[in-house]
């Protein structure tokens, strides 16, 4: 764990994440995605946003960082995290007997102190 996690207390972190997820959800809606579920939990991991992009089921992971922190939110999507996301998505597909196309996306956001978006990127098909 890097120092960033140690300094911030967990409440602040959760709050930042929530803000990011809200921004991401409205961004996706604006782009024609139909949001089905948010913070859907399967086992130990959860899916930040579950949406439909036309006929494709999309699992979306939102990564938010404040401007004061160093590094980019993209960097936190490690191979380990991506593999876990894949597993979670497969579990969801199996439990719900979903037949059709699916995809895993990531939305990376940087917020400054006044909660304005400094950086927002939508990556399609990250795994």
């Amino acid at each position: 764990m890097n120092r960033y996690w140690q300094i911030k207390n967990s409440e602040e972190r959760i709050e930042l994440g929530k803000k990011g997820e809200n921004i991401a959800a409205s961004f996706l809606k604006k782009n024609g995605y139909k949001i089905i579920k948010r913070n859907y939990r399967i086992g130990h991991s959860d899916i930040d946003i579950l949406a439909m992009d036309k006929k494709i089921l999309v699992f979306i992971e939102v990564r938010t960082k404040s401007e004061t922190a160093r590094g980019m939110p993209e960097e936190t999507l490690t191979v380990k995290k991506l593999n876990r996301m894949k597993k979670t998505a497969e579990l969801y597909i199996a439990f719900n007997r979903y037949r059709g196309c699916a995809r895993i996306d990531a939305v990376c956001i940087i917020l400054d102190n006044s909660n304005t978006v400094k950086h927002l990127k939508h990556y399609k098909g990250v795994t």
Binding site: A89, I93, C101, A102, R103, I104, K124, G125, T127
Partner: protein, 509 residues
């Protein structure tokens, strides 16, 4: 939807058909898998295909793509499945039809262009044998593939071009083979006329060139053995059509044809250094590759400092020298490469090098000489048809003649004789499956080498006094046939046999 693209796989010089099946599923998470025993180079084609498609302004589909290389039990190697895989994916996302009975073959570059790929000639030959209509190959390999007549060879520069071709926006003209300047012309360093004296050695090389016989030249350092060998390509005739195809196939499978290259028409001249390994000389590897002897097929294999080669390496030459081909067996693969080469070996007569030298004293003991010579085993010496000594050149004579080399015969003149002699041989063997005298089997010798009673007697006497082996006996018959051919003589006469007998190895008592 399932799409099938035809491609090929190589095992030595044989080619088998591979069906590249591309399936893009409408369910599940996006993935891109290649199955069908791919090796690392094939598996990595995932990244190349993906990037090349994106760089050709295509959307790479975020769906489950499965590529199967059928039949699934044949291990696939090489990077040339990039192109068929990319075409399969493109046909799905752009919705065009792939022409039936066409082979796709080529390696992709990340920018979407196609790279020169080894084996284009083999793929084209396979297409022809299996009645395919067309083959799509990289632009730079098209010249090589276009040698095969009867199929359309489409040169493809990049993915963009093939997309527009299938969309009927542009046309790609099939390439028609044009004879170009041969790329493989070994630089001929010396002309025979530049070599002063050494008449006997020159004569031996002439006979060797005419009949494809093996030669061992022994002589002191600096006497001109290497120079003679280097001048040899200059008197060799060009490859005929059949030979040229044989040679080009080997070079194509080994990836020795440069981009844009085509048929090889000059005879190969290979001169490996004596630190060569056994696999390097005769071929080998897990997936057997041709060695120097196969790369010297229908040409010259020149082994300078013959005594310095590791014994095991030289002994490995035995069987391919006799059979003209070599089968390399590994647990995974069994591959046969042709190796009908002319061995030209050069060696010193003793460790110090000055045995039989007129100007300098040899400092070796008899024991040393015997040990030195023993490195070359009897079976190998027996397989070399012509043994010739290259004496030291008289310096006085050399300095006198150095300026005017005109009176010597040039390589061109000698070559003319050799071409004539080869023509005689070709005419004679028109109904046999051989081309030159060195290839004659026992039944051919019986049929074509008719000795009169007198020359028969000479040969029998020689066999008795020289203790000739059965093989040497037949070798002498072959050489006499070649000498007769050089004189355009129908029958083998006694002077031919007598000359052939001169080229037996001298024995040390």
């Amino acid at each position: 939807m399932l799409i099938k693209v035809i491609s090929v796989s190589f095992s030595g010089l044989t080619t088998i058909r591979i069906d590249v099946e591309v399936n893009i599923a409408e369910r599940g998470l996006p993935a891109f898998d290649i199955v069908g025993l791919p090796n690392k180079a094939v598996a990595e084609s995932r990244e190349r295909v993906k990037t090349a498609l994106v760089n050709s302004h295509q959307n790479f589909p975020l769906r489950r793509i499965t590529v199967n290389l059928a039949p699934g039990d044949v291990p696939k190697q090489g990077a040339f499945y990039d192109f068929p895989i990319a075409v399969g994916i493109l046909s799905e996302i752009r919705g065009f039809n792939i022409p039936k009975s066409s082979i796709f073959f080529g390696e992709l570059s990340l920018d979407g262009s196609l790279r020169h790929t080894k084996g284009a000639l083999l793929a084209a030959l396979f297409a022809k044998e299996n009645d395919m209509e067309a083959i799509f190959v990289p632009d730079q390999s098209a010249n090589e593939a276009s040698v095969v007549k009867g199929i359309d060879v489409y040169p493809v520069k990049n993915l963009d071009q093939i997309i527009r071709y299938f969309n009927r926006e542009i046309k790609i003209e099939p390439l028609i083979y044009k004879q170009k300047v041969p790329f493989c012309r070994e630089k001929i360093n010396f002309d025979m006329s530049e070599i002063l004296g050494q008449e006997q050695a020159k004569r031996a090389l002439e006979i060797a060139a005419a009949g494809g016989h093996n030669v061992l030249m022994t002589g002191s350092p600096g006497s001109g053995k290497t120079m003679l060998a280097r001048a040899l390509p200059g008197i060799m005739p060009l490859l005929n059509e059949e030979e040229s195809l044989e040679v080009t196939r080997i070079y194509s499978s080994a990836g020795n044809i440069p981009p844009g290259g085509s048929l090889i028409i000059t005879r190969p001249f290979r001169s490996p250094h004596h630190i060569i390994s056994q696999a390097g000389l005769v071929g080998g590897g897990t997936h057997p590759q041709p060695g120097e002897i196969s790369l010297a097929h229908r040409g010259i294999l020149f082994l300078d400092e013959f005594n310095e080669f590791p014994r095991s390496v030289i002994e490995a030459l035995r069987q391919p020298m006799e059979d003209g081909e070599l089968t390399i067996s590994r647990s995974l693969e069994r591959v046969t490469y042709p190796s009908r080469f002319m061995l030209i070996a050069a060696a010193n007569p003793c460790p110090c090098g000055y045995l039989n030298d007129e100007t300098r004293q040899c400092t070796c003991t008899k024991r040393e000489i015997i040990r030195y010579r023993k490195k070359l085993s009897g079976p190998i010496m027996d397989r070399i048809d012509l043994h010739v000594e290259v004496p030291v050149v008289n310096i006085k004579k050399l300095s006198r003649d150095f300026k005017n080399t005109n009176k010597n015969e040039t390589s061109k003149e000698i070559r003319k004789r050799i071409i004539l002699a080869r023509r005689v041989q070709k005419k004679r063997f028109i109904n046999e499956f051989i081309q030159i005298n060195a290839e004659m089997k026992n039944n051919h010798i019986r049929k074509y080498v008719n000795l009169d009673s007198h020359s028969q007697e000479i040969l029998l006497n020689a066999a008795k006094t020289f203790h000739l082996s059965a093989r040497s006996y037949l070798k002498i018959m072959r050489i006499s046939r070649t000498i007769a051919d050089l004189e355009q003589s129908e029958n083998v006469k006694e002077n031919h046999v007598a000359e052939a007998l001169q080229y037996r190895p001298e024995r040390i008592e």
